[in-house]
Amino acid sequence: MTVLEVRDLRVTYPRGVRAVRGVDLSVGRGEVLGIVGESGSGKSALALATLGLLPPGTRVEGSVRLRGRELLGRSDAELSRVRGKDLAMVFQDPLSALTPVHPVGDQIAETIRVHAGATRPAARARAVELLELVGIPDAARRARAYPHEFSGGMRQRVMIAMAIANDPVAIVCDEPTTALDVTIQAQVLEVLRTAKEATGAAIVLITHDLGVVAGFADRVMVMYAGRAVETGPVAEVYARPRMPYTIGLLQSLPRIEPDAPRPVPIDGAGGISTGGFPATGCPFAPRCPVAVSRCADTEPPPVPVGTPAHTAACVNLDATGDPARVFPAPAPPPAPPVVPRHERPAVLEVEGLVRHHPLYRGTVLRRRNGTVRAVDGVSFDVRAGETLGLVGESGCGKTTALMEILRLTRPQRGTVRLFGRDTAALTAAERKALRRDVQVVFQDPFASLDPRMRVAEILAEPLLVHGVPRARIDARVRELLALVGLDPAHAARHPHGLSGGQRQRVGIARALALEPRLLLLDEPVASLDVSVQAGIMALLEELRARLGLAYLFVAHDLAVVRLLADRVAVMYRGRIVEIGPVADVYGAPVHPYTRALLDAVPRPDPHRERRRRPAPLPGDPPDPSEQPRGCRFRARCPSYAASADAAWRTLCETDEPRPRPVPEGTGRLVACHHPEGGRP
């Protein structure tokens, strides 16, 4: 039975920006429809239009029917009787989406009271029940807490509790897990599953993560430039995609399986931000490898392909019969260095690095109240020509470790040696000279480039600072642009005139300006769309091989790390719990935390993802200001929880495990008392 039906929906923002251009969709009771697409494809506008929550001045045309009742064109008063009752929404960022000044229990109770007219105590009691349902421990007490007292995952649980408070018939989820760690994402998806079973609601799940859709949705709709370009059952679309954009999206995805093919970048960039799409014809044509002259004539309507439920909007369907042949095969990865690892010199050696932040209390008399142990004794080395990936949940200290190395001064404790030189012993002049050799690329290409400077000035700045003669700078800027695959014409642009991928290329070019030997990369692809990610990753690989660079690579995306890194270090609460060659660690993770982290990554493969239902790692990313005795991971450790052997458990409770080689002689270290796994 169709519950929510959208027909020919068009959304036009003020100043004529057409965000959604004729989208049809229908979702049945208990069904999950996944909507995927890159930023600017109109998915969020579609969600907000469905609920009538777009800002005033936006034109919405077409039809949105909930159980046959038309919603478009209704007054705010009429719509408010439907919103939150029959049609609910879960928003992306649960910190800003909850009112900071009301307790969460009251915010849930308000949802009930607005519609059901329940008494305040009754609504509160129901709010506590809902919080229990979404898995918030000690719900009666936590209902009186404020949003800032919850972690990100817990806040998203509150959002879900609020959405299901009145047993809605349909729930629209707009990127519900995007801001969360993979472990927390797995928990939240589990809660969403519970919520779906409890209410039987139809769910529209908007996300950019094809892995989440593979595991959770029944049908998928791919959006591009405000249109649905391919729709169908998840298994069918993932196995036999027919629209070139869908094919590109699936192939550009970094995958975690060892045998997975290398991601294929989609050239160019879409999105409203970069000058829009062609006025006539297929909007994807400029990026499409199988575009023909007919593509420019009219915008192709969706036509059935294969099964009746599977439609694709493409005029050149003949060319997409075999998805593997649509995009040119990616260049083979650069050959690995021939010199064995132990013979290559170390460019970076970190030994027992510590960074603690004091916590203070009080205003007149400030007294020390505790310590955030952001980095608490970390040791690793990076050898010439290799990439070390640093992974872990947010707050585990990976970025702090990177910044501590970048300071090039004496750390609070431990040593940092760059190219064999101890940073604690450097003079100011030596430190400046050393900076040439160590450069950094930041996560956010929007925030890390000065919006008032042109690209040429951004690239010239490090050269000027280090006294390169002005006469040589212009040539070097052109060289750098070519190196990162940008056009010489881009030199005259400001950052806002570039797409996200182009900006990140500028960020990389800036880091390369001084010909460094070591690049520190802080989540360099995390804020980019997948189709663009693949291009940047290929660029980083190529540069490393061509320029003989070494990378220290911080990321939370384990699939990206598998592709880029030679070795990986898994961090938990300021310590490395497992470090070793990527293939070994991913192939046979030893530490229970590594296992849980790898398990939590959703695979973009509906068949495998449905059979594989890993138990999510319980608990939140830990509060780094607490200092427990024994193993730091104990509270969340599945092996510890499952073990009944008292002596086995005592070791975890009393002694902090030290990193030791497991198995011997493979260059792999694991900090766990029981690397052989759980024992009953």
């Binding site: 929550l53 008063a77 408010s80 909850l98 009112t99 308000e110 949802t111 607005v114 609020m162």
Partner: protein, 341 residues
């Protein structure tokens, strides 16, 4: 929270002592009470003047430090000394303080509430005619000094009285003599007092309202498109309810800080209003005392003003804590948020 307030209170007490001492030292070195006594007719002999000045602790031939010591010792006992006329400063201070409070309280509260509502309304109606009218009006009011505003109000009131032929508005003094002996007894007296309050209250309220509506409009614009307002609407609240219960409530928080800072302006405005409307409050007394060279009275009024401003600061801290649960948990975030330490 209690511990935090106690620390704040100690902080403020230190500030009050500093402010009061500085204002005494300034007044004692700048004002010339001797001239006032010598100008009397017939001119008293120098010995008499000296004796009188010594008795009042105003003699400029006594070292400043010694005079300050005597004054400070008195203040510590709760005694602000005597005026030039030889009356105790304390009695006059209390009397005049209550006059000022009666004059300013209604206007301040009214100005705050109306300013917040008007600002919020203007933000919601952004760029529509009603917003433009409110904006233009508040800028007009902001650029009008309060004494001009008060005189304009008086002229308007005179016109109304003339056209209606009734004495609707009164603007001289606090009350008309014999008003409580009429037909309505004490009730008539109260009515008369309220009638006298109308114009000064309007003047205070208008000046405050203009300022607060600008602040509130800015605050409200920040939360209009906030995600949590959208969430509230997604829950089924109407747009207006979502804005009132979730938007306005959050946008009020930073206003509490402004409250403390505008209190100083209010005291200054009170000075003009008392002169114009013929109320015998603190402001009028301060002006008179400065002219007479009455050091003790000036120092007492300044001390009172300093205490009032810092008390307003304390009230705004408490309000901040009540309105914003995020600052209740730890002292560190509190300081960071209010930007004061």
């Amino acid at each position: 929270m209690a511990g935090f307030l106690l620390r704040r209170l100690v902080n403020y007490a230190v500030l009050v002592v500093l402010a009061a001492s500085l204002s005494y030292l300034l007044a004692a070195s700048a004002l010339k009470p001797r001239a006032n006594l010598e100008d009397r007719n017939p001119r008293p002999p120098a010995a008499v003047v000296d004796a009188e000045l010594n008795r009042l602790n105003l003699n400029d031939r006594t070292p400043l430090a010694e005079r300050y010591r005597v004054w400070a010792a008195g203040v510590l006992r709760g005694d602000f000394g005597r005026t030039l006329q030889g009356e105790p400063v304390n009695d006059e201070l209390w009397r005049r303080l209550w006059v000022s409070v009666r004059l300013l309280t209604f206007g301040t509260v009214l100005g705050c509430v109306l300013g917040v509502l008007l600002g919020a309304y203007a933000a919601v109606r952004r760029d529509r005619p009603s917003d433009r009218i409110i904006t233009a009006g508040s800028y007009l009011l902001l650029s009008t000094p309060i004494f001009v505003l008060a005189v304009l109000l008086q002229i308007g009131a005179q016109k109304v009285n003339d056209t209606t032929g009734l004495q609707v508005f009164e603007w001289v003094g606090e009350t008309a003599p014999g008003s409580s002996e009429g037909t309505f007894g004490p009730l008539g007296g109260l009515g008369d007092r309220l009638r006298h309050l109308l114009l000064p209250t309007a003047a205070v309220a208008l000046a405050q309202l203009a300022l607060y509506s600008r602040y509130q409009r800015g605050m409200m614009l920040d939360v209009l498109n906030a995600d949590f307002v959208r969430t509230a609407r997604a829950k089924g609240l109407r747009h207006r309810d979502a804005l009132l219960r979730h938007g306005l409530r959050t946008a009020l928080i930073p206003m509490t800080t402004y409250f403390a800072y505008t209190f100083g302006l209010l005291l200054l405005g009170g000075m003009f209003l008392e002169e114009i409307f013929g109320w015998h409050g603190m402001g009028e007394w301060l002006v008179e005392s400065i002219i007479r060279g009455d050091v003790n009275a000036v120092a007492a009024v300044n001390c009172c003003a300093a205490a009032a401003v810092l008390l307003a600061g304390l009230v705004s801290d408490v309000l901040y804590g009540v309105l914003d649960p995020r600052v209740r948990t730890s002292g560190t975030t509190w300081t960071a948020r209010t930007g004061r330490s």
